[in-house]
Each structure stands twice: as structure tokens, then as C-alpha cells.
Symmetry: C2
Subunit: 170 residues, 2 copies
DNA sequence: TATTGTTATACTCTATAACTATA
DNA sequence: TATAGTTATAGAGTATAACAATA
């Protein structure tokens, strides 16, 4: 109903030796997206395991690096999560001395966030490991294909609402 | 390092009015994949909310429909999750009379799984709602683009290992 | 011995709600 | 009144380990 894929529908490869047929699921975007996510995450963990830095913690570190002094609220919005959830991530990163909070002098409600020297070292190591992890997947694509894939994914999440920060439905 | 995207790198669109720069994250496949997943999941929940059928529960129903009599182990492998996790999903679906367990007569360790009449009705309703949800995203792509996207995602998870069922590392 | 299902448990992630201090 | 941060808490999802029945 949503797309024509009568003969060319992608199915799981034989080397997975899976015991079931996928049927209707082969037409579901979210199903394939999730499998891709799981595959990526499992490889991420196998590669980064020793660092014990989750993808989200890593993303937060990168965001603070490129936006020094940003707030927890800003980060939460950017990664589509609740401020209390972000709080937990920030706490963990602070506990291992990767970032620090400094109360803003302009608006004393705000905690400005910065990456410490230790945090920078952590990021450097993590980037190195991650680039190995990334390569295991990106090498499956040509440069043009990769550009297309990123564009497609962007088209999926572009314009997404952030429920916690929408105005009330009146 | 992993791919060239000097000028054409996909960035977040302006209509999201996000307060931060994404920096290095723009080059990370997993980051875009996750944002796409979040966007899709939020729309899924908004659409299917009343049915209270998670994407995984839905997937399990579809899998049992296309593989009547399949086992919990088979389902767990197919969806890359632990057998104990699958157990919880099966229990929930059985509790609302969507599926039933029948002990196999050939191998009495196995519970063969079947979708009940109630379960079929649930699937019918869910499919209807989901097709509306799907359309909100698939209409952003041409038929050819969609075929490419599915193929790309398949390329990412093809050959993924299922850790729980690999042989021991000796 | 190995496998299927099961149970108990614990851990992580997440959001909600209520609170504080500021604005 | 509204916002940034905080805390407590509860729910969902997940995996691990141990076990029973069966192969």
C-alpha cells in the first residue's frame, strides 16, 4: 500500500540463517530502521566496550565541545529527550570528570557546561575507536550512496516535533 | 575520516530551531539513524497509542502469523533479543488473548505459537493505523528512493551476528 | 550434554511530578 | 508566571543466571 516492492523487496540474507519468514514486516520502514540500529549498536558496544561511553553520552560530549557553555535544556531538546533524562547523563559525565558545570553569571538558574581536559582525552580516544566502528559500515557504501543515505535519514527526522516542548493543546 | 561530505553534509533543518550546533555528530551514521528512529517511534506512538501495541509486540504478531507454530527461541533470534525478553512479550500478548501457546507433540520442550481470532482482529486494526503512520514518512520518498533506502538499511544489518547464539570464544 | 521454556532478579533508560531558585 | 535545574519515583525494556523438563 505504501510502496511498490513486488519483486525487489529487501529480505534478510541467507547467511543469517533465520528460522522465520518476515512477511508483512518487509514493507515496514521502522522494522528495517530498527534492525539497522540494533546491528550498529551491537558493533558499537563491541568496539567501545572498554570505554563504557554510551552513544548518548558520547553525543553529549560532542555537543558540549561544539557548544561550550550550553545548558542541559538545550542538550535535551537537541537529542529529543527529557531534561531529567539528560540530567542523569550529565551527572555520569561529571562523575568521571569529563565535563563540569559552572553557574551562569547572567542567568543564575542555568548551569553552563564545559568539557574538561580529561573529557577531551576521553573524546579523542572515543573518536578513534568510533571511526573504526563507523568504517565497518560506511565501507559498504560508495561516497555517493552514503551521501544519499544520510539525506534520506535526514528527510525522516526533519521537522520532527519535540513533544515535551510543544505548546499545550488548547 | 570515514567519508567525504565537506559541502553536502546533511544538517538539521531550520524549522526545528535547535539551540546547538551538531559538529562532529553530523558525520556519524548511528546518530542520524537514531534520530530517524526516534522520529518514527514518536509518530508511531501518537498514531497507535490507543491500541497499546508496541512495535515489537506488533512485529511478533506478524511473525507468528507468517510462521504459525513458531517457537519463542525462533522469534527471539529473528528480532535479535534474548529469549527471556521474548518471553515477556509473549506473555503480554497471551494475556490479552492475541496469541496462544500449544505444547508441541513432536518436541515437548517447545511451545508452538498461534495467533487467535482476537489476535487477528488486533492485527487488522493495527495494520490499518500503521499504514497511515507509514504513509506520513514514505510519501517523502519516490518509489525508487524508497527502494534504495530499504536496500541501504538492509546492507547495514545484513550479516549481523546474534550474540546470544554465537559459539563460545575459545 | 544441549536445548526450550521459565522464573527471579537486577540494571538501565526513560518520563512524570513535585520541588527550588531564579527570572 | 515561567524557566532551569533537581530529586524521587515508577514503569518499561533488557540481559543474566539458575532451574525444570525434555531431547
Amino acid at each position: 500500500m505504501s510502496c511498490d516492492n513486488g519483486t525487489a523487496k529487501p529480505t534478510l540474507t541467507a547467511d543469517q540463517v533465520l528460522p522465520v519468514q518476515y512477511g508483512e514486516l518487509n514493507d515496514i520502514l521502522g522494522f528495517h530502521l530498527r534492525l539497522a540500529n540494533v546491528a550498529l549498536f551491537q558493533d558499537y558496544q563491541a568496539t567501545m566496550g572498554d570505554l563504557s561511553l554510551t552513544p548518548k553520552q558520547f553525543a553529549v560530549l560532542e555537543l558540549i565541545l561544539i557548544n561550550p557553555g550550553t545548558s542541559q535544556i538545550g542538550l535535551a531538546q537537541s537529542l529529543r529527550m527529557d531534561k531529567a533524562t539528560m540530567m542523569a547523563i550529565i551527572n555520569k559525565l561529571e562523575a568521571r570528570n569529563a565535563i563540569e558545570r559552572r553557574q551562569s553569571k547572567i542567568d543564575r538558574r542555568r548551569q553552563e557546561l564545559f568539557v574538561t581536559e580529561d573529557g577531551q582525552k576521553l573524546v579523542d580516544t572515543a573518536r578513534q575507536l568510533r571511526s573504526e566502528h563507523e568504517a565497518r559500515f560506511t565501507t559498504r557504501f560508495s561516497a555517493d550512496e552514503l551521501k544519499m543515505l544520510f539525506g534520506f535519514l535526514n528527510r525522516i527526522y526533519a521537522g520532527a516535533k519535540i513533544p515535551a516542548y510543544e505548546e499545550d493543546e488548547a
